[in-house]
């Protein structure tokens, strides 16, 4: 019964996150989804993943969302998607009906597996390659994020250089402009000498 309440609460939070007009409230509803999913995972017996999901999904990712929204701005977009809401709802209903028809009711488990390995054994020994791939994925994510955010510094430098170069040209013209003025007096003096 508890798990039914948790799952229904998570679904309601998800719908509210999608329907929220402000990005900040959508991020907070998403944190609610993560927290309820983490408690549901705990109730299902997956304690380790529940703790990680609560700290990473509901904590770190929410902080990242709030940080990104504070930088990018919390503008309420009024523009509508080219897909109408009716079409989207009917597509989702079709998807849910098909998936539910394929999955439910669940078949009974074939046979109880004898002495399942512990979580640490499975993760660090049986799936050691997957852990390595996760490390590579984390480094790829960090490097790609640095690459994406580094473009602003490069473009900002280019903008400052482009802004500085016309000033030099302009000041060069300014230096060039007095030279004809200095050249002109001898030209003017020559006729005076001629007149004299």
């Amino acid at each position: 019964m508890i798990i039914a309440c948790l799952v229904v609460g998570a679904a309601i939070c998800a719908v509210l996150a999608i329907r929220a007009t402000r990005l900040l409230s959508a991020a907070l509803w998403l944190a609610g989804v993560s927290a309820l999913v983490a408690i549901a995972l705990y109730e299902l017996g997956a304690q380790q993943v529940a703790v990680i999901e609560l700290s990473v999904g509901a904590g770190l990712v929410t902080v990242l969302f709030v940080f990104a929204i504070s930088i990018a701005g919390d503008d309420a977009m009024t523009a509508r998607s080219p897909i109408s809401r009716r079409l989207a709802v009917s597509l989702i209903g079709l998807f849910a009906a098909l998936l539910g028809w394929m999955v439910l009711p669940l078949d009974a488990p074939e046979s109880a597996t004898a002495a399942e390995a512990t979580f640490s054994t499975l993760l660090w020994e049986d799936r050691a390659l997957d852990v390595l791939v996760q490390l590579v994925l984390i480094f790829c994510g960090v490097l790609s994020m640095l690459g994406i955010l580094q473009d602003t510094h490069i473009s900002a430098r280019q903008e400052t250089l482009e802004a500085a170069v016309p000033d030099e040209r302009f000041s060069g013209n300014g230096h060039h402009s007095p030279e004809p003025l200095t050249d002109t007096p001898p030209v003017e003096t020559v006729p005076e000498e001629v007149h004299a």
Binding site: L6, V7, V8, A10, A11, A14, A17, I18, L23, A26, A27, L30, S34, V37, A40, L41, L44, A46, Q48, V49, I52, V56, G57, V61, L64, F65, A68, A72, G73, M77, A79, S81, P82, I83, A88, V89, I92, A96, L99, G100, L104, L106, P109, T113, E116, A117, T118, F119, L122, L123, D126, R127, V133, Q134, L137, G141, S144, M145, I148, L149
Partner: protein
């Protein structure tokens, strides 16, 4: 209805909400939020499937990989959104998809 079936109904609801968000929204940050909701549904489905088949730890270890990938996707998506807002001044996906060059 067993516990796993109840959880699977919730997974269907989460997947439906996430897909609806992907279809209906045009804001880049909102798209990342919809992706997060989709991944939460997948996470719950993995653990529920492990619990239903008597292999909870295997489901947990797979869910761990999903959490890592999900966080990386969120970080990169938010960095893209910040850059799009800084350089182009908009988070509208239609305006971003009209870019050339």
């Amino acid at each position: 209805m067993t516990t796993s079936e109840i959880v699977l109904v919730g997974v269907l609801a989460l997947l439906g909400a996430g897909l609806y968000g992907l279809l209906i929204t045009r804001n880049l940050i909102k798209v990342v939020i919809a992706l997060q909701i989709l991944v939460k549904g997948g996470l719950l489905a993995l653990v529920a499937a492990g619990e239903a088949s008597g292999q909870t730890n295997l489901g947990q270890s797979l869910a761990m990989t999903v959490i890592v990938a999900d966080t990386v996707v969120a970080v990169v998506g938010l960095a893209l959104a910040i850059q799009a807002r800084r350089l182009l001044g908009t988070l509208d996906l239609k305006a971003l998809s009209n870019l050339r060059g």
